[in-house]
């Protein structure tokens, strides 16, 4: 499977033409995944629904900043939703331009054929595999990854919070992510 979905690209083209039905179809395709993430971060239905709406509105308003060659649309939406949710949680952005998808950077001259294939996050089997890998991670690796991803903590903040050295925190995150990466690569061979 290629790293981008042709249907998504076509719907994004529709959004660029201000076709609200195209946005609606993308919303229906991905709203569950985005909402689940926002809810996991915020633990508040109303706030998570606000983040969900803002995420897709941003897609509508600034779709030109998304490039298929940068990765799957769902990865992009999840990144946006995560940043919005974390910002909402903190009431202020810790890193205003942390969203690398929306900071306006240009990736000229990228050859899509040279990009790696990535398994689709919409594949339920992949979701099961990722959950299984996460469950099987040593508790200390799982904790730092969840705190970094769902709480948005930096290495330094994790070090302070957990009372571990910076090096230990980095090593544990790297080890955990490497197992997720291997799981993703395994799925590329499947679908």
């Amino acid at each position: 499977m290629s790293s981008w979905d042709q249907e998504d690209v076509e719907l994004l083209t529709g959004i660029a033409r201000r076709d609200s039905d195209a946005l609606l179809r993308l919303y229906r395709k991905y709203n569950g995944r985005v909402f689940s993430l926002a809810y996991r971060i915020l633990d508040d239905r109303a706030a998570a629904e606000e983040v969900l709406q803002d995420t897709f509105y941003r897609l509508w308003d600034r779709s030109q900043l998304y490039r298929p060659e940068k990765g799957q649309l769902i990865s992009w939406l999840l990144t946006v939703a995560r940043n919005l949710a974390l910002d909402h949680k903190r009431k202020e952005s810790r890193r205003a331009d942390s969203n690398v998808f929306f900071n306006g950077e240009e990736w000229s001259g990228v050859d899509p054929d040279s990009l790696p294939a990535t398994a689709s996050l919409e594949d339920p089997e992949l979701s099961r595999t990722i959950r299984k890998v996460m469950e099987q991670l040593p508790a200390e690796q799982k904790t730092v990854i969840e705190l970094a991803y769902f709480e948005g903590l930096t290495h330094q903040e994790l070090s302070d919070k957990l009372g571990q050295s910076l090096g230990t925190v980095k090593t544990r995150i790297r080890l955990g992510l490497s197992k997720l990466r291997e799981a993703m690569r395994g799925k590329v061979m499947m679908l």
Binding site: G32, G109, P116, T118
Partner: protein
């Protein structure tokens, strides 16, 4: 951290995670802007790895109101209009949900039409052969797909002058046999017409069921929200009544399960509907190619735009440690892709739905294998059923 192409995958994963300190994050972003293709490639993969963490969040569904609000916002605060136009012309006020029963019936209706169409073709073939033999014939109209339900049934050979003249041709024993066959065809036609009427009635009932299921989902959602509020209130008030909190937690858990179940049913229904409406739907029949498959068979409907739907029957029960897995065989590499695990029942039926993917455009065949529980990354089990385009 130095910024050069010595970056390893882990660096880009930390970058995508956003856990680096700001200085490192900025340095790596600047490096990306220099146009380093290798690092761009690594970042694409790193983003997918990091985003995969989101899939560990428990599945939840937003309320239908979010969609309405989003569309209203997008359309400039004007009336949100018929959001469902083009999808649900008759259910303009219905939300995204369509009850599973309705869609399964839609699928059933689709198959019935196809089956009856095949019967019709067979009947017309018989009639053509009778005509060639000089027997009186009444063409069987394509009742299901073209003729109205209330259309006149096909009559047995009548005593019209034309038929009478035609009936005079050929040996008497042939005429008698042909007349019996035509009478059978007419009776069969009447049965099919009644069946079609019943199907339409079932479809209308399913539509009503869909509305009821949506109401059930809304009620379950409201119940969950209310329980969540009650629980929070109990916690906030420092209630020492642990039993009350435990009871609320229990109810909340059940309510959430119900919401998840209904949401899953409706999501599946929407996918079936999407497949049936996607056009250019292809069909493949899978037959047993190994004695271990017994009398198992399966039918698959698929389209690159609508996804894949498999319904299987008479599958032998597998060992507890095994499961059925469907594989897509296609042109290109990799040539064999997993399409997922079948959900099976004790009665031998099986079901699988897969999301739309362009890989289906290159499909040349499908195979079902038995694999270790949880499925395999690549097909290793016995090829039990197979079908080709």
């Amino acid at each position: 951290m130095s910024v050069d192409c010595a970056h390893v995958e882990e660096d880009w994963e930390l970058f995508a995670l956003g856990s680096l300190d700001e200085a490192d994050q900025q340095r790596m972003a600047s490096h990306l802007q220099s146009g380093c293709k290798e690092c761009q490639r690594r970042l694409v993969e790193a983003r997918a790895v990091v985003a995969s963490i989101a899939t560990t969040a428990p599945a939840r569904q937003p309320s239908a109101r979010v969609e309405l609000d989003l569309m209203k916002r997008v359309r400039g605060g004007k009336s949100s209009g018929p959001i469902w136009s083009g999808f649900w012309p008759r259910w303009s006020m219905a939300p995204w949900a369509v009850a599973a029963v309705c869609l399964v019936l839609a699928g059933w209706f689709f198959w019935q039409q196809r089956r009856l169409g095949e019967e019709l073709a067979g009947a017309n073939s018989v009639i053509r052969s009778l005509r060639q033999a000089g027997a009186p014939t009444t063409p069987v109209s394509p009742r299901i797909t073209e003729a109205p339900v209330t259309g006149p049934p096909v009559s047995p050979p009548s005593a019209s002058p034309e038929n009478a003249r035609a009936a005079d041709t050929g040996p008497p024993e042939n005429r008698s046999s042909d007349n019996r066959r035509l009478a059978e065809l007419a009776a069969e036609n009447e049965e099919i017409r009644k069946e079609n009427t019943a199907l339409r009635a079932a479809s209308a009932a399913a539509e009503q069921h869909a509305v009821e299921m949506q109401a059930a989902l809304n009620a379950a959602q409201a119940r969950t929200d209310a329980l969540t509020r009650d629980l929070q209130t109990a916690k906030n008030s420092g209630s020492e009544n642990q039993a009350e909190i435990a009871a609320l937690n229990g109810q909340l858990s059940k309510s959430r399960d119900e919401v998840a179940r209904l949401s899953q049913v409706m999501a599946r229904s929407a996918q079936i509907e999407s497949l049936l409406r996607s056009g250019s739907v292809q069909e493949i029949e899978l037959r047993a190619v190994d004695p271990a498959a017994g009398k198992g068979f399966a039918r698959v409907l698929y389209s690159p735009q609508g996804g894949l739907l498999l319904v299987a029957d008479s599958l032998p029960k597998l060992d507890h440690e095994k499961c059925y897995q469907l594989w897509v065989i296609r042109k290109g590499a990799p040539a064999i892709l997993s399409a997922g695990l079948l959900q099976t029942s004790d009665d031998g039926s099986g079901f699988l739905m897969a999301q739309p993917t362009n890989d289906l455009a290159q499909l040349t065949g499908l195979a079902i294998t038995d694999e270790p529980k949880g499925g395999s990354v690549s097909a290793r089990g016995h090829k039990l059923l197979f079908g080709a385009r």
